[in-house]
C-alpha cells in the first residue's frame, strides 16, 4: 500500500527535478507549461512529477482557474523542519547529559571486567 505521508514527502523530494520545481514554486505559483519550459522534457513528464508532489501533499492545483496554477504547500515544509529540529534538540539534550558524564569521569579508566562480562545495571539511574 501507499507509504506513510512523511515518506511520500521525502521520496518526492529525492528527485532533483522535483526539488527544482519546488524551489521555483517557492517564488510563486506557476502553470505547468511555465514549469516545463526550462527542462528538456515533455509537459507530460513534468505533469507526472507534479502528480508525485501533489500526492505527497507538497503542492496543490487550483480547480477553478483555466490554467490551474500549481501552488506550494509551505506548511508541510514547516512540519518537517519542526521534526528535524526536535530530533536535533533531543540529540543536544543527550549530548548535554554526556557532557555531565565526561565532567565526572576520572582521567584513567577504572578497572573494568572484560567487555563480554559486562553486567547490566541494577536498575534505572535515578
Amino acid at each position: 500500500m501507499a507509504a506513510d505521508p512523511l515518506s511520500r514527502v521525502f521520496s518526492a523530494l529525492a528527485d532533483p527535478t522535483r526539488r527544482d520545481i519546488v524551489a521555483r514554486l517557492a517564488v510563486g505559483d506557476a502553470g505547468v507549461n511555465e514549469l516545463a519550459a526550462p527542462y528538456d522534457v515533455t509537459v507530460q513528464a513534468v505533469s507526472r512529477h507534479l502528480r508525485v508532489l501533489e500526492d505527497a501533499g507538497l503542492v496543490s492545483r487550483s480547480r477553478e482557474a483555466q490554467r490551474r496554477p500549481v501552488h506550494l504547500e509551505a506548511e508541510v515544509f514547516d512540519l518537517m523542519t519542526t521534526w528535524i529540529e526536535r530530533y536535533r534538540r533531543q540529540a543536544e539534550e543527550r549530548y548535554r547529559r554526556l557532557d555531565d558524564v565526561l565532567r565526572d569521569m576520572p582521567d584513567r579508566p577504572a578497572p573494568h571486567p572484560p567487555a563480554g562480562d559486562a553486567l547490566p545495571p541494577e536498575g534505572p539511574p535515578s
Binding site: 512523511l6 523530494l13 521534526w83 526536535r86 530530533y87 540529540a91 549530548y95 559486562a118
Partner: protein
C-alpha cells in the same frame, strides 16, 4: 541553517540518501568521549531519553560484539539491538541499529571522533537507514516521541489540502 551556539548539535537530513548526520563538539578529550560510548556503566547514564528508563541487556562494544538495551515507560518496552562491526579505540565505532518494533529495519551507524586539540573533540554520528521511509520514521518519531502523534498531524494537514 547552523545554530549560533558554538558547539550545539548540528543535524543534516540528506535529501539524496536516507541518512541523518549529527555533529557535536565536546570540551573533553577524545579518549573520554570514546569511553563514554564503550563502557556500559557510562553509556547507560546519558544515552536514554530522560523520561524513559534505560536497561542494558548486554553491551559488548568491541569489533564483532553486540548489544541490546531496553527503554521502558509506563510498562511499555522498546528494545533496540545491533552488532559492533568495527571498534577502533578513540576514533571510530561502526555498528548496526534495529528498533525491535520494526525488526526488519536496520540502520548502519558510524561514530567518528576527531581530536580538535586543547582537549577538545568533534563527534560525528551518522545513521544510514534502509529506506527513506525508515529514515523519516526515525526523524518523525524523534526516537522517543510517539510516531503517531507526528503522523496524525501530517494526516490532518494533508486532509485539509
Amino acid at each position: 541553517m547552523t545554530s549560533t551556539t558554538h558547539r550545539e548539535a548540528r543535524i543534516t537530513a540528506d535529501p539524496d540518501v536516507p541518512l541523518i548526520r549529527i555533529e557535536r563538539e565536546f570540551d573533553f578529550p577524545r579518549d573520554k568521549v570514546f569511553r563514554a560510548h564503550t563502557d556500559p556503566d557510562l553509556f547507560v547514564q546519558w544515552v536514554g531519553p530522560r523520561d524513559l528508563t534505560m536497561m542494558i541487556d548486554h553491551y559488548d562494544c568491541r569489533t564483532g560484539g553486540s548489544y541490546r538495551y531496553i527503554h521502558s515507560r509506563d510498562g511499555e518496552e522498546y528494545g533496540f539491538h545491533g552488532s559492533f562491526h568495527e571498534v577502533r579505540p578513540d576514533e571510530l565505532i561502526v555498528q548496526t541499529f534495529t528498533f525491535e518494533g520494526f525488526p526488519d529495519g536496520v540502520a548502519l551507524e558510524k561514530l567518528v571522533l576527531e581530536d580538535l586539540g586543547n582537549g577538545r573533540t568533534r563527534l560525528t554520528a551518522t545513521s544510514l537507514c534502509d529506506s527513506f521511509a525508515d529514515r523519516d520514521g526515525m526523524l518523525a518519531s524523534g526516537m522517543d516521541v510517539g510516531v503517531h502523534e507526528g503522523y496524525a498531524k501530517l494526516d490532518e494537514l494533508l486532509a485539509e489540502g
